[in-house]
């Protein structure tokens, strides 16, 4: 049976790893050691990508803003682990992690972040609009909740085309208070669409805490209003996320419709580069640094014999090298040609799909 908000007792933040059941997570029997090690690598790629972005900002090398997802790597990678290239995701302004988790090339991402012609969007989109449509990533989104109905539409297309895929929609706790959330979840429910709503509840919509903004204790509590399971997951546990998404995929493929998964997590860095952390304490931030999702996954992998400490170190070093190469690729890439500004507004006549 799929758990609901009512029968899941332990929100993630209250559950340190030692309290979890001794049974191995389902993900460990579904995915091979190699696949799980790739997941670890993606977490490191995200962490290093964000750190490289932050570094570029601190050295005055960036142009626009950025929203870093350090601390939320398990949520992104765990949710995307059960997805294939033909499954869709929609993402958010805090989307670098989702993009890497869905398999994007960090070099082209960093080039996009840096406004280079070689970026995913040829420098037209920037950090908040990185998309990798061929790989099922329908894009980050600068509008809070903007991607939620779009994911529902992708799921409608999947259903109409008779495909076995799903659409997975990332959004934050702030988006759960937008009208689009309500409309999209209602439509997905009445039409029983193969869509998975993943609310990454990192406790703050910019500076406004969930306690001040949310009428219910958990975003998942709202699932009952849409007749779908509302599952609360420790968002800092990759395997918990993957297990919850696998159950949601099975439900979607069985024609039973959507699931709302609430990933309880935390963003370690500020909302964006303007953030002075006036709304939270250093102690709170440090308590979440201690629950680092990458460390936790490494410990789990080693405990279950799926990776050695030496392999984990090699994975980390490989990720660091890949991001260093990505930054170099971006630095070496040309800026767009200003004369080319209008390219891409409309589809050229000869390219009609």
């Amino acid at each position: 049976m799929t758990p609901t908000a009512q029968d899941v007792s332990a929100p993630g933040e209250a559950a340190p790893p030692s309290d979890r059941p001794a049974n191995p997570p389902r993900a460990f029997s579904v995915f091979s050691a190699a696949e799980l090690q790739t997941a670890l690598k993606k977490m490191y790629l995200i962490r290093r990508f964000e750190e490289a972005a932050e570094d570029a900002y601190q050295r005055g090398l960036t142009y626009g803003t950025m929203h870093l997802s350090i601390g939320q790597e398990a949520s992104a990678v765990g949710a995307c682990l059960p997805l294939g290239p033909s499954d869709y995701i929609t993402s958010t302004h805090r989307g670098h992690g989702h993009c890497i988790a869905k398999g994007a090339d960090p070099a082209r991402m960093f080039a996009e972040f840096s406004g280079k012609e070689t970026g995913y969007c040829h420098g037209r989109g920037g950090s908040m609009h990185i998309a990798d449509v061929e790989n099922g990533n329908l894009g980050a989104n600068g509008i809070v909740a903007g991607g939620i109905p779009i994911a529902v539409g992708a799921a409608l297309a999947i259903k109409k085309r008779g495909l076995p895929n799903v659409a997975l929609c990332f959004f934050g706790d702030g988006a759960a208070n937008e009208g689009a959330f309500h409309e999209a979840l209602n439509i997905a429910s009445i039409w029983k669409l193969p869509v998975i709503f993943v609310c990454e509840n990192n406790k703050y919509a910019m500076s406004t805490s969930i306690e001040r903004a949310l009428s219910v204790k958990n975003v998942a509590d709202r699932a009952v209003a849409y007749s779908m399971p509302g599952v609360i997951v420790d968002g800092n546990s990759l395997t918990d996320m993957a297990d919850a998404v696998m159950a949601a995929i099975e439900r979607a493929r069985a024609g039973l419709g959507p699931t709302l998964i609430e990933s309880k997590t935390y963003r370690i860095r500020g909302h964006s580069r303007s953030d002075r952390n006036r709304y939270r304490t250093k102690e709170e931030i440090e308590s979440w640094v201690a629950r680092d999702p990458i460390d936790r996954f490494e410990v789990e992998l080693i405990a279950h014999g799926l990776a050695t400490a030496a392999e984990c170190l090699a994975i980390r070093e490989a990720a660091e090298a890949e991001i260093a190469a990505a930054v170099k690729f971006s630095n070496d890439s040309p800026l767009p040609d200003a004369a080319d500004i209008l390219r891409g507004v409309h589809t050229p006549a000869e390219a009609k799909p």
């Binding site: 869709y88 929609t90 970026g119 995913y120 969007c121 040829h122 420098g123 037209r124 989109g125 609009h129 998309a131 449509v133 061929e134 329908l138 894009g139 989104n141 600068g142 509008i143 903007g146 939620i148 109905p149 779009i150 994911a151 529902v152 539409g153 992708a154 799921a155 409608l156 297309a157 999947i158 109409k160 085309r161 659409a167 009208g179 689009a180 309500h182 409309e183 999209a184 209602n186 439509i187 009445i190 390219r343 891409g344 507004v345 409309h346 589809t347 390219a351 009609k352 799909p353």
Partner: protein, 346 residues
């Protein structure tokens, strides 16, 4: 009301083949039916479009022919439905979303303006959003302030959107089929007072190109640029003025974005006088854009009188019929203004 085609000098191309008299609504319905038959990717969404047949009965009977999977009633969720249409378009479908009234599309501006219009560009030209948003526009039905607006200029201000506004049954069908062929988002606005207008419509599918205006009446003294219901009103005004010896040319814009500047410039160079007639509020409306475009063009030097804008009053559309009529240009207003313009000199 009948389509003004018989009054033209053959400027509107009528395709060969069987042409019957259809209403504007029937022409739209036929276009959608043919598109649903021809392309599995096409489907319709909207509030009360299936069982009810649409608030203006435009989709009447399509449910019976194509079933609920392709003619989908949505909840009253304009924003959600618009996003669903955008997502479905990104994932390989060809949705047509009907807003029950253009006024209600304001609830979906986020998805139309921030998402549909920009996704292709923001994503570096890697994908297209082939969605058609249909909506009834305009006053004249007693709908009052929230069911009568003409906000097409808002959308025409947004790069990435195309904005279409047919004036007769022939163009309604041809432009809707062209909009469905278009790989990018198209706003398709239907004036409510035109739904019952009858006119010749070829049975076989055909396209009226987006971005191409039509000279629907040739004239030598004044150019009137109009769209939607203002085309037939301008033609009526032109007929009145013809009896007074004033020769008016009428251009049917058909598309507000992209604007067919070439046709307007050529006409103004010929007539030397320009008047823009539109139902939306006069300030910052489509007429302002056309006037500015002419002021910037080589046609400016040909003008023999200041450009005149005849737009809607600066007021929410009132309910009482006497006020409602006074809020938007009527035939007599157009005729009087065009007559003044014809007699004016710089």
């Amino acid at each position: 009301m009948t389509a003004p085609l018989s009054a033209t000098t053959g400027a509107l191309p009528i395709e060969p083949g069987a042409s019957r008299e259809l209403s504007f609504a029937e022409a739209l319905r036929e276009a959608m039916g043919q598109a649903l038959e021809a392309d599995d990717r096409v489907f319709l969404m909207g509030e009360d479009i299936a069982i009810y047949g649409g608030a203006f009965q435009v989709t009447l009977g399509l449910l019976e022919r194509f079933g609920h999977d392709r003619v989908m009633d949505t909840p009253i969720s304009e924003l959600g439905s618009a996003g669903v249409a955008v997502g479905a378009a990104l994932a390989g479908m060809r949705p047509i979303l009907e807003f029950q009234f253009q006024d209600f599309a304001t609830l979906a501006m986020e998805q139309i303006v921030n998402q549909a219009a920009k996704i292709r560009y923001m994503f570096g030209g890697k994908c297209s959003v082939p969605v058609v948003f249909r909506a009834p526009t305009g006053s004249g039905t007693g709908g009052a302030a929230q069911h009568s607006q003409s906000l097409e200029a808002w959308y025409a201000h947004v790069p990435g959107l195309k904005v279409v506004q047919p004036s007769n049954p022939h163009d309604a069908k041809g432009l809707l089929l062209a909009a469905l062929d278009d790989p990018d988002p198209v706003m398709f606005f239907e004036h409510k007072l035109l739904y019952k207008m009858k006119g010749p419509v070829p049975e076989a599918p055909y396209r009226v190109p987006i971005g191409k205006a039509a000279v629907v009446r040739q004239g030598t003294q004044v150019t009137i640029v109009a769209s939607a219901i203002m085309v037939s009103r301008s033609l009526e005004a032109a007929a009145i003025l013809a009896e007074k010896g004033i020769d008016v040319e009428v251009i049917d814009l058909r598309t507000l974005r992209p604007l067919d500047t070439e046709t307007i410039i050529a006409s103004v160079k010929k007539t030397t006088r320009l008047m823009c007639v539109y139902e939306g509020a006069k300030t910052l409306g489509i007429g302002a854009e056309i006037a500015a475009m002419i002021a910037e063009s080589e046609a400016f030097d040909y003008l023999d009188a200041p450009i005149l804008r005849l737009g809607g009053a600066e007021v929410p559309i009132p309910y009482s019929p006497v006020l409602e009529k006074a809020a938007v240009p009527q035939v007599a207003d157009i005729a009087a203004a065009a007559e003044r313009l014809a007699n004016k000199r710089v």
